[in-house]
């Protein structure tokens, strides 16, 4: 179990139950709450919400140290601890980093770089890719890669798949599959719709698979020596990399997924002075990314990235307007019509998992006339993920989401390449290794199946 509620700390206010998209939190008002693990999708929104902190007055002077130990948190952690928490997996990472024989590779998700600064007192939504890379290198990772690169690859795979489905009369609408909590939700509740999910893996897993194959070749390492870590805004990513099918590289594709907050703990534990860090670059070639990869961190981002590339793949012309504003926004479910040459591509975007249920019902009933639907579990996509820095006051969450979202779009605008298929490293990957999107090898490494158990 990745997400848990401490029965001794929970006051039973049930604020978490209000934000749980799958009604997995049960209990009487005023009594400790229990998470129904079979329903839980591990999105971590309850962790973000919980304010029932370990208190000197209510729990005594020794409670804090005891609970920190119980949760296996670094001793350096001084911040308040709450009833709802995610299981800490830093031990394995620390061990790998200390082990001289292990070649440690790390990737970090697009939403991490617009939030981690907040944990060090920077303003909400401060964009810090350079400091992030520097900190990870200081922590001792041998390769500091970026999930934005595999995000670009995801677009190549998923986009090709979509065009294929549209052209060949495949199962439509096709759903994105980047969000593991969403995938788990569909598997739990609508298994009959599993074929609607794109078979492409999430960027984290695509990255993991590439690092231990093509990456290993480039570094002339054995895949078995590589320890692959991902830093994610998400509590559910740890579950995703744990899925038994995620070992197409021949090894576990990603060895450990940690959250943005956990990374901040690591940095503090290592006594790295974040604010004094000088910006550094990600390692190449998997640190090369486009704006399309960057916007994966916000709701509508995957869709926008897919359109930027899909338009060109289908029409052979470059898209007139790179900013596809019609798919941006924060509403729970929104649709847009995109003209891709002669094709009128009908797309939908869901953010906040509870908004997906009517969509799924409509798909099941066959009443939803869309080609492609992006689904993200968290309120405004990964920027609002369960593993992101937790706000002390929820009154600032809208502001935080807005600032992080805008930082991501700012980042997109300032990048040299803004379309996944233009990423030179991606091109090279296909030229040298994968041959083509949806090639046999690509299929083997970068695609997956669902409802296997």
């Amino acid at each position: 179990m990745i997400v848990a509620i401490d029965q001794n700390l929970c006051t039973g206010c049930r604020e978490c139950a209000q934000v749980c998209p799958v009604c997995a939190i049960e209990g009487e008002q005023g009594k400790p709450q229990v998470i129904q693990t079979e329903r839980c999708v591990m999105c971590g929104q309850c962790i973000q919400k919980c304010k029932s902190y370990v208190s000197l007055l209510d729990h005594g002077n020794d409670a804090y140290d005891r609970i920190r130990k119980e949760r296996n948190l670094p001793d350096s952690v001084q911040e308040p601890l709450f009833a709802a928490y995610s299981v800490c997996s830093l031990d394995k990472v620390r061990t790998a980093l200390k082990d001289g024989c292990t070649f440690t590779v790390v990737q970090c998700a697009p939403a991490v770089r617009v939030a981690i600064g907040e944990e060090f007192g920077e303003e909400l939504g401060t964009l810090t890719p350079g400091k992030l890379a520097a900190a990870l290198r200081k922590l001792g990772f041998d390769r500091v890669y970026d999930t934005n690169f595999p995000a670009d690859v995801t677009i190549m795979e998923e986009g090709t798949e979509l065009i294929d489905r549209v052209n060949k009369g495949g199962v439509l609408p096709m759903f994105t599959s980047c969000c593991p909590a969403w995938v788990k939700f569909l598997e739990n509740n609508y298994p009959e719709l599993k074929d609607h999910l794109s078979s492409a893996k999430s960027p984290q897993q695509i990255g993991g698979a590439i690092f231990k194959t093509y990456g290993a070749e480039l570094d002339q390492r054995k895949a078995s020596e590589i320890y692959s870590v991902s830093v994610m805004p998400c509590t559910c990513k740890a579950y995703e990399c744990d899925r038994p099918e995620m070992k197409d590289s021949g090894y576990r594709d990603v060895d450990a997924a940690i959250t943005t907050r956990e990374l901040a703990w690591l940095i503090k534990e290592a006594q790295i002075d974040w604010n004094a860090l000088r910006e550094e670059e990600f390692d190449q070639p998997f640190g090369m990314y486009t704006g399309a990869g960057a916007i994966f961190g916000v709701t509508g981002g995957v869709m926008e990235a897919a359109i930027r590339t899909g338009y060109e793949l289908v029409t052979g012309e470059s898209i007139p307007q790179v900013d596809v504003t019609s798919v941006r926004g924060t509403e729970g479910f929104r649709t847009a019509l995109i003209e891709v040459g002669d094709l009128k591509l009908k797309v939908g975007i869901v953010t906040g998992l509870k908004h997906v249920i009517p969509v799924l019902e409509a798909v099941r009933a066959g009443t939803l006339d869309l080609h492609f639907i992006e689904v993200m579990t968290c309120p405004q996509g990964c920027v609002s993920g369960g593993g992101q820095p937790k706000l002390l006051m929820d009154t600032f969450s809208e502001e935080a989401y807005r600032a992080r979202r805008e930082a991501i779009f700012d980042h997109d605008r300032e990048l040299t390449y803004r379309k996944s298929h233009e990423n030179p490293a991606v091109k090279k990957l296909y030229e040298e290794f994968l041959e083509a999107p949806n090639s046999h090898l690509a299929h083997h490494l970068l695609h997956t199946t669902y409802c296997n158990d």
């Binding site: 902190y53 804090y64 001084q78 920077e122 820095p389 937790k390």
Partner: protein
Amino acid sequence: MMKKELGSFVIGDGRRCTGCKACELACFMVHNQKSNHVGMTVGTVGVPVVPRLYLTRFEQGCMPIQCKHCEDAPCLNVCSKGAISRIEHQVVVDEQLCIGCKDCMQACPFGAITLLPYAKDGCLVPQSGSSETKVFAAKCDLCKDIPQGPACVNACPHQALRLVDPEAEREEKNIKAANALFYMKNW
């Protein structure tokens, strides 16, 4: 603005309160932004959470309890150190001056004061001549010096806290009572 004569105060509503402690955390946050470098997120906190209002549970429910800024404040009147004073109508504790004698805590009929660790610049302050932490009388100061008013009121997801401006509300209630007389008629 009508010249203010009375101290405002925040009052909890047990019918709405769920006991989530968002008020306590918000209170702690705004009072430690400057003195203890607390930012917007949990990770920026390096000192124990010390609130100035206290979520109180009872059989039928719960509600936050905080200072009423009494106009003849027993806490102020008992403080031998002169650490409690009325500043712009609010009863405020000078944390530096407080020696933790507990007199105010005993004098307050509402339990609105308690002694909690005192931190500064992100560190707990030790007592002089001892390694133990200095404490201070923690009570609501109505977010004096903090823009946007009492943080607890703003943070509550259920509007279970209300900032009472007793004078203005009295006038409003007067008008309502007068209207009642108007409707009552004298049949």
